[in-house]
C-alpha cells in the first residue's frame, strides 16, 4: 500500500503523475466548457445556481435536512435489530420452528417486494386513517415505519447470507461442545456472520441515508420537501441544489469511510491466511 503511494514520486511515477493531471484537466475542463458554452447555460445557471436564491433557500432546506438526519438516526437504530431478528428467525432449524421461519419468509417477501415509494405511500396515508389507538398518527411516523420495514427486509437478507456463509462445520463443532441451538447461534455463528457482512451493511447505510428523502412524498417537511416549497414559490430550482449538496455532505464522507473499512478488512483477511 505504501509502495503504491510512493510510486507517484519515482521517476517513472512522476511522468505518470503529470499525465494524470493533464488528462484530468482536459477531461473535466472540456466537460465544463461544453456545459458553459451551451446556448441555454445562462438561463440554467440562474435557475439552478443563483447565489441569492441559494442564500434565501438555505435556512429552510437546512432545517428540513435536520429532520432527514433525525429520521436516518432512528432508522439506523431500529433496522439492524429488526433485520437481525428476522434473519435469526429464518435460520432456526427443526420442524417446531416452521411457523417462525414462515413468518420471516413472508416478512422479507412482502416488504422487499413492494417498491419503497409505494410502501411509504400505503403506510403513510393508510395507517393514520386506521386511527389505531396508542400509535402515532403522524405521516412522519408511518413513513419512517415503511422505510424501516423495507430496509429491514433487505438487511435481513444480508445477515442471512452472512449466516449461510459460516461453514456448517462451525455449527457442528459448537453443538458438539454442548451448546444449545440458540447458544451456538449467539456465540459461534452470529459473530462470524456479522463480520462477513459488515461491508455490505455499510453500503446499505449509505443508500438508506439518501432514501430517507422519499418520505417527502407524504408532505413531511424534510430537505426535499422544503426545497420543493421554495421552488413552487419562486420558480427557482437552486433550492434543490442546496438539498443535493447537503445530502452529498453526508454521503461522500460516509462512502469514503465504507471504502476505508472494506479495504482494511480485506487486507486483514488476506493477511490472516497463514
Amino acid at each position: 500500500m505504501i509502495g503504491r503511494g510512493r510510486a507517484y514520486f519515482d521517476e517513472e511515477g512522476a511522468r505518470a503523475g503529470v499525465i494524470a493531471v493533464i488528462s484530468t484537466i482536459v477531461f473535466f475542463g472540456g466537460g465544463a466548457l461544453l456545459v458553459v458554452n451551451s446556448a441555454n447555460w445562462p438561463r440554467v445557471r440562474d435557475q439552478f445556481f443563483s447565489s441569492s436564491d441559494f442564500a434565501a433557500a438555505w435556512p429552510d432546506v437546512l432545517s428540513g435536512f435536520w429532520l432527514n438526519i433525525e429520521l436516518f438516526a432512528y432508522s439506523m437504530l431500529v433496522i439492524p435489530l429488526v433485520a437481525l431478528l428476522v434473519a435469526v428467525m429464518r435460520s432456526l432449524r427443526g420442524p417446531a420452528f416452521f411457523p417462525i421461519r414462515l413468518l420471516s419468509v413472508v416478512f422479507t417477501d412482502v416488504f422487499r417486494g413492494i417498491p419503497l415509494i409505494l410502501l411509504i405511500l400505503l403506510l403513510g396515508f393508510g395507517a393514520p386513517a386506521l386511527q389505531i389507538s396508542g400509535l402515532p398518527n403522524s405521516a412522519t411516523f408511518w413513513g419512517l415505519t415503511a422505510l424501516t420495514l423495507s430496509y429491514s427486509a433487505y438487511t435481513a437478507e444480508i445477515y442471512r447470507s452472512g449466516i449461510d456463509a459460516v461453514p456448517e462445520s462451525q455449527r457442528a463443532s459448537s453443538r458438539a461442545i454442548g451448546l444449545t441451538q440458540w447458544q451456538s447461534l449467539r456465540f459461534a455463528i452470529l459473530p462470524q456472520a456479522v463480520r462477513n457482512v459488515v461491508p455490505a451493511l455499510m453500503n446499505t447505510v449509505v443508500s438508506l441515508q439518501k432514501d430517507v428523502a422519499l418520505i417527502s412524498i407524504l408532505g413531511v417537511r424534510d430537505a426535499t420537501r422544503e426545497a420543493q416549497i421554495y421552488t413552487s414559490r419562486t420558480f427557482n430550482y437552486t433550492s434543490y441544489v442546496v438539498a443535493a449538496l447537503l445530502f452529498l455532505a453526508i454521503s461522500i464522507p460516509l462512502t469514503r469511510l465504507v471504502d476505508y473499512y472494506v479495504g482494511r478488512d480485506r487486507a486483514r483477511r488476506s493477511q490472516s491466511q497463514v
Partner: protein
C-alpha cells in the same frame, strides 16, 4: 453380563437416497481404543457424527451405558457433553482466542465460571504444550497446534468417550507426529476412544481393535496385528493392499 460402554445396534442413516450406514453394529468397551478404517464413503465420519448426535439416525439404536440416546425423550445437549469429538479440519472458532475456544462450552453450556474454566483449560493447554498459544487466534498458529487445541476443547467436559475423525488428514506431514503423540497419551490414560483414521501404522500401534468398514457396515473387526497381518475378508485384503502400495502402512 455388563453392557459395553457404547453400543450401535443396527444403525441406519442415509443422506437423500444414499444409504451411508446400513445396519451398523459396533460395541465399544470402556477404556477401549477402536480404530475405524476403510475407503472414503464407507461411513466412518457419519458413524462418529451420529454417535455425537450431530446427525439424527434413521433406524436402530445407539446406547450409551445401556441407555438409548437416540430416543426422543433424551436431552441431546446433555449427551453431547458426555462425548467429545474432534474433526478433520479443526473447526476452532476463528473469532476467538484459543483459550476462549476451549472454555466456551464449559462457560456457556455447563455454567462453569470463567475463572474455573480458564484454570482447567490452562492446565490442559500446558499438558499438551500449548500454554504459549492460549491468547493466540486460530489463524495465527500452525495446523498441528490448531488440532491439539481442538482436542483440548473436546477434553474440557471430561468426556466419557472421545471421537476422532481423521484428525491428521488435513495436516502437513511434519505436524502429524505431534497430534498422534497427544492421542497416544490419551490412550495410555485409558480414555475410551473411537478413531476414524488413514494412519494404518498408528492404528496398529494404539488400537485395541481395528474395524474395517465397508458400505456402512463393519465387515471385519480384530486385534490390530491380526487384522493387518491376516485379514479374512477379500475386501479388507484389497483395501490393505492398496494402502500398502500407496506407502501408508
Amino acid at each position: 453380563m455388563n453392557e459395553p460402554k457404547l453400543v450401535l445396534d443396527g444403525v441406519r442413516k442415509s443422506y437423500g437416497d444414499v444409504g451411508v450406514l446400513n445396519g451398523m453394529n459396533l460395541a465399544v468397551e470402556e477404556h477401549e481404543v477402536v480404530c475405524l478404517i476403510g475407503p472414503s464413503g464407507c461411513g466412518k465420519s457419519t458413524l462418529l457424527r451420529c454417535v455425537d448426535l450431530l446427525d439424527p439416525i434413521d433406524a436402530g439404536e445407539i446406547r450409551l451405558d445401556g441407555v438409548d440416546v437416540t430416543a426422543r425423550s433424551v436431552d441431546t445437549n446433555a449427551v453431547r457433553r458426555r462425548i467429545g469429538i474432534v474433526f478433520q479440519s479443526f473447526n476452532l472458532f476463528p473469532h476467538m482466542s484459543v483459550l476462549d475456544n476451549i472454555t466456551l462450552g464449559a462457560r456457556r453450556a455447563m455454567g462453569v465460571s470463567r475463572v474455573d474454566a480458564e484454570g482447567q483449560a490452562l492446565d490442559l493447554l500446558d499438558r499438551f504444550g500449548l500454554a504459549a498459544q492460549a491468547t493466540s487466534y486460530p489463524n495465527k498458529i500452525s495446523g498441528g497446534q490448531n488440532q491439539r487445541a481442538a482436542i483440548v476443547r473436546a477434553l474440557m467436559n471430561d468426556p466419557e468417550i472421545l471421537l476422532l475423525d481423521e484428525v491428521t488428514s488435513a495436516l502437513d506431514p511434519e505436524l502429524v507426529g505431534e497430534v498422534l503423540g497427544v492421542i497416544r497419551e490419551l490412550a495410555g490414560r485409558g480414555l475410551t476412544m473411537i478413531l476414524a483414521t488413514h494412519e494404518m501404522g498408528f492404528a496398529r500401534d494404539v488400537a485395541n481393535r481395528v474395524c474395517f468398514l465397508h458400505e456402512g457396515r463393519v465387515l471385519e473387526a480384530a486385534a490390530p496385528d491380526e487384522l493387518f497381518m491376516n485379514p479374512q475378508e477379500q475386501r479388507t485384503q484389497q483395501f490393505l493392499q492398496r494402502v500398502t502400495e500407496a506407502g501408508r502402512l
